[in-house]
Amino acid sequence: MAESSELIGNFSSDANRRIHARHRIRSLAYVELGENNGGIVLNIGEGGFAVRAAEAIIEDSLPQMRFQTHTSAKQLIASGEIVWTGNSRKEAGVRFVDLPADALGEIKTWISEEESPVNFKKPMMAVARRTARTNTSASERIVEATEVGEVIETSEPRRAESYFSRSSIFQQPPKQSPNAEPTAVSEKPPVNWLDFRVQIGAGWMLAAFVIFLVAISFAAGMAIRKRDFVGPSLGPQDQASQNNGEIPSSVPPATSPAAAAKISNIEIVDSSNRQWTIPAKPPIVHANQDAASSSAPNMEADSSNATRAAQPNPISSPAVEKKSPVLLSLPETSLGASDTVAISSQRSLSVPTDSSPGGSQPGKNLHVGQLVNLVEPVYPPDAQKNHVEGTVKLHATIGADGAIKDLKTLSGPPSLFPAALTAVREWRYNPTLLNGQPIETQEDISLVFRLPK
C-alpha cells in the first residue's frame, strides 16, 4: 500500500509536468521494451506512456520499443527515455524521443479510439474474455493508482504474468517470487466476465419468463374472446357468476327426458268444474299364487268354477300329474255411472300352472279382454214408484268369445233383478287370451240403484 501511495504521488506530480495529457488505456496493449523485457501500457499520450514491465527497467533510455495498438495491425517502433520509475523499477514513465510522424498518427488514432465508448466496447469484451481465466482465480485485491489519480480495484498481479506468458511478442518472463511486491497492472474491464455471464443467464431467464407471461396473456385474451363469443349461452354457473358473481348452490341436475316424471294420472275436468282422476295407464293385473297345489289345471272343465279354483278338479285323473289352477283376481273397477245406477265389477280367472321344466309361468302371455259394450240397466218404474233402492250383485261367466255365458244373481232387491240381468246379458267383452288361446273368465258385478233426486 505504501508503494501504491508513492505511485500515486509519482503519477500526480508527473502529470502536472506534461505537455500532452495522458489517456487511460482500456484495452491491453503490449510493448516490447528491449530484447529481454516487455510490459503493458498503462496510459498513453502523444508525448509518452506509462508502462508496467515484466522485469525491472534498469536502463535510462529505450532505443527500440515495439508496440501494437488494437486499432492497427501495424507494429510501431519508437525510442524513448525513462522519465520516472517506481521503487521496483517495473513501473516507469517513458517519453518518446524522435517519434516518427506516422507513429504519432497511429497513437493519436489509438487515443481517440480509446476515448470513444462505442469503439471501446468490442475490444474491451475481447480483452475481458482473454483475461477471464486469470481473474477468476484472484483471491486478493490491491488498490492501485492510475496516472490521473483515481483509485481502482484490480485483481492480483499474477494476471499480468499470464499476459506475458501468452504474448507472442514477449519472451517468457522469469517467475516472480511469492514475496514479490505488488505491481501496477492495466485497468481491469469494468465488468467482470463471470458477472457478465451471470447477467446474460439471468437475462435469458427473465426473457423466457416474460415470453411465458406473454403467452399467458395471449391465452387469456383468446379465452376472453371465446367468452365474448359464447355470450348468453353460458351455462347456469357461468351465467350466474356473470350476473351476480355467485353460483347457485342448489341447481338441480339437468332434467333429461329419461329422468322426467312419468304421468301417473290424467285429470279430467268438465265444464261444471267437476273433476275426475283416472290412471294414465290401464290397470296391471297381478297374479295371486296362493293356491298353488299339486293338481293340474283343466281350463275347460274348471272354467265355470273359477272362484272355487282351489277345489279338486272333478275330472282330474290320478294317472296324470296335474296341479290346481291359480286364481287371478283383477282390481275392482268402475264401469260406468248414471244418475240412477253405478256399476262396478271385479274380474277373476283361473290360470293353469305347468310343472314341467319348460312350462310357462302362471299368467304369462295373458291378455284380459275388456268390456266393449256396456248397457246400463233401466231403473224399473215399479221400483222407483215403490222407492226401492239397493245394490244388486251378480256373478257372470264370460265365455271365450266374450259374450255372457252364464249369469246368476247373488244378492240385492229382487225387484231390481230383472233390470240388472237384462242389461248385463247384453254386455260384450273382447276375448281373454291366455297364450294366444281364448279362455273363460268370471266376473262379480255390482249395480247400485239410487232413486233420482
Binding site: V214, F218, T255, E267, I278, K281
Partner: protein, 188 residues
C-alpha cells in the same frame, strides 16, 4: 441489468400487441355467427296432463310443467314472435311445429325461483254424457287415454326457443309408456 429491463419492456410490448392483434380480428370474425342456445338457464320438469271440457264436442289438453330459473336474472316467458315452440318427434328426432299447441299466457320467473307453466291444445272430443262424480267407467277411461295417447304418442318432448334470450327450454315428456290405449295388460 438495464438491457434486461429493455428486453422485458420490449417483450411486454410485443405481448400486448400480439394480444390486441389476436383479439380484434377474431371478434369481428365471430360476430356474425349465431350464439349458442343456453339450455341450462331454464329447467323444466313434467307436472301432469289435464283434459278439460270446453263444450260437449271439444276439450282442451293441458300439459303442465314446473319451471326453474337457474340464472341470476329475472325471466319472463310468454308467447311472441321471437318464441318458437316445436315438438321433437320420437320417430326421427326431427323438430316440427306442434299442431295447434300454444303457450298458456305468460310466466314470470324471478332469478333462481320456480314457477308453473302450461302448454295447451284444443281438440275435438265427444264428452261422455253420463259422467258422475267419483266414477269413470273403463270405456270412458280408455276414451280419455286414447285422446291423450294420440296427442303425445309420437312426441319425444316439446322444446321452446326464446330467440331473444337465446334460451332453449326443454319440456320433457312424462307420458312415454303410460298412456297406452291398449286394453291388453301383460303379466310378467
Amino acid at each position: 441489468m438495464k438491457y434486461l429491463f429493455l428486453i422485458l419492456a420490449f417483450l411486454a410490448a410485443a405481448g400486448g400487441v400480439v394480444l390486441f392483434v389476436s383479439r380484434a380480428p377474431v371478434k369481428q370474425e365471430v360476430a356474425p355467427q349465431p350464439e349458442e342456445w343456453n339450455s341450462g338457464a331454464i329447467r323444466s320438469s313434467f307436472s301432469g296432463i289435464q283434459v278439460r271440457e270446453i263444450d260437449p264436442a271439444h276439450v282442451e289438453l293441458i300439459f303442465s310443467y314446473d319451471l326453474e330459473n337457474t340464472t341470476g336474472s329475472d325471466y319472463r316467458l310468454a308467447s311472441g314472435p321471437n318464441v318458437a315452440l316445436v315438438a321433437q318427434f320420437k320417430s326421427d328426432g326431427s323438430l316440427r311445429a306442434p299442431d295447434a299447441i300454444r303457450i298458456d299466457g305468460s310466466v314470470f320467473l324471478p332469478a333462481r325461483s320456480h314457477g308453473h307453466f302450461a302448454l295447451k291444445a284444443s281438440r275435438p272430443f265427444n264428452w261422455p254424457s253420463q259422467m258422475v262424480p267419483g266414477q269413470v267407467g273403463p270405456i270412458t277411461q280408455d276414451k280419455f287415454r286414447s285422446l291423450v295417447s294420440n296427442e303425445v304418442s309420437n312426441v319425444q318432448e316439446f322444446i321452446l326457443f326464446d330467440q331473444t334470450a337465446r334460451y332453449k327450454i326443454e319440456f320433457p315428456s312424462g307420458w312415454q309408456g303410460s298412456t297406452s290405449a291398449s286394453s291388453a295388460a301383460a303379466l310378467n
